[in-house]
Symmetry: C2
Subunit: 227 residues, 2 copies
């Protein structure tokens, strides 16, 4: 009895300032009727990443997103049907594109806030927990956070993204100073006016997706000249 290989994909987005994940309701046994993260078997000629992208497209219609391999889970017994090793990925989708369509083999699909998840099939709870941990870490030292926003956004919207992922409020002045120091935002000559208050300046994310470089000084050494 050979081992079968699937990819599962955790799809994150931000909705109304809260981190959400896309779940599908299983139409078939096992765990029929339960919620699960999208996934499926890896096909003949495709790479693991292509398989993940295919699942993503089937569920959301979206392509060209941030996608990263998370971890592989393969405990015997994690799938009652037999030995299944899954390679888990996670994807980040900007809120303006986050419109799920029901998958082919899924009866139903929907966005769930990470703070209140339903019971999940298989070991998917564990996968979700780990992907959140990873996302939080990445947020600290890369610019993945921008993946959740449309091209133009306000600084407060950006801050809300960070807060939603980290799960704690941030201090406005410090947050803005940090962003300014990173020099990855271009302030636009456009303002968004909404509500009864001062309009907010729009910004663009400029610079490719990259790790945040804490500009190191070059290291020199004790230059004790021979006496």
């Amino acid at each position: 009895m050979p081992i079968r290989v699937t990819v599962d994909i955790v799809i994150f987005t931000i909705r109304s300032s809260r981190l959400h994940v896309l779940l599908v309701r299983r139409g078939l046994a096992p765990f029929k009727g339960q919620w699960a993260i999208p996934g499926g078997f890896v096909r003949e000629g495709e790479t693991l990443e292509q398989a993940a992208l295919r699942e993503l497209r089937e569920e959301t219609g979206v392509d060209e997103v941030y996608l990263e391999q998370l971890y592989s889970f393969g405990d015997p017994g994690r799938d009652p049907r037999g030995r299944v090793v899954t390679i888990a990925y996670f994807a980040l989708i900007s809120s303006d594109r986050a419109v799920p369509v029901a998958g082919t083999d899924a009866a139903e699909a929907g966005w769930f806030p990470m703070q209140s998840l339903p019971p999940l099939a298989f070991d998917h709870r564990r996968i979700l927990d780990y992907s959140l941990e990873r996302l939080r870490n990445k947020l600290e030292y890369t610019t993945v956070g921008f993946q959740f926003l449309p091209r133009k956004f306000t600084l407060t919207e950006l801050q809300r993204v960070y807060e939603a992922i980290l799960g704690r409020p941030l201090e406005k002045r410090n947050f803005r100073r940090k962003m300014a120091l990173l020099r990855i935002l271009r302030p636009l000559r456009e303002w968004r006016r909404e509500g009864v208050h001062r309009p907010a300046r729009l910004h663009q994310f400029v610079a490719e997706l990259r790790p945040i470089l804490p500009r190191r000084r070059r290291q020199r050494f004790d230059a004790t000249p021979p006496r």
Copy 2:
């Protein structure tokens, strides 16, 4: 034709102040006679981690080491025999235990310095490159570095480990201050004397393996009382 699943394991150690990796010479086609990292098929009832540990034991006789899942590689065509997905792990072995024994299905095994690797079978070069990157990152924010040393060691030995992994020299005073600040070393009342110079104090690594916590202050907020 089903996908087959293997684990491959990158086994690191430090020898004469340089980072080494354990390679085995392949006895069978494909890539017969070439060097490769140890690995093998995942068996029926074992977890992925158990499979990695089994390979590790077969190659080195060593158990109870630092072991971490690295990444999964599954491009079609990475193995000419057919579709093989491999889950790569890496392990860290202290220099005093790093005595390889030839594996069961391997003709020969040996430690190679990471700076001068032979041509490798499959996509193993890529796996090695990635594992080094990961090891370097982990070194910065965890205490994995200690895994390479015996229980008692000198501060200079510890510094050599860090230098070997990072591939650059470090500054002695800063390195020692940092270690002192972390409070994870117990200085012993023992000294090692060797060579014609002042003896070096021995230290022990105390505290469990853990991430290095940059002690955050609790964040408070603008407490503008309502006027």
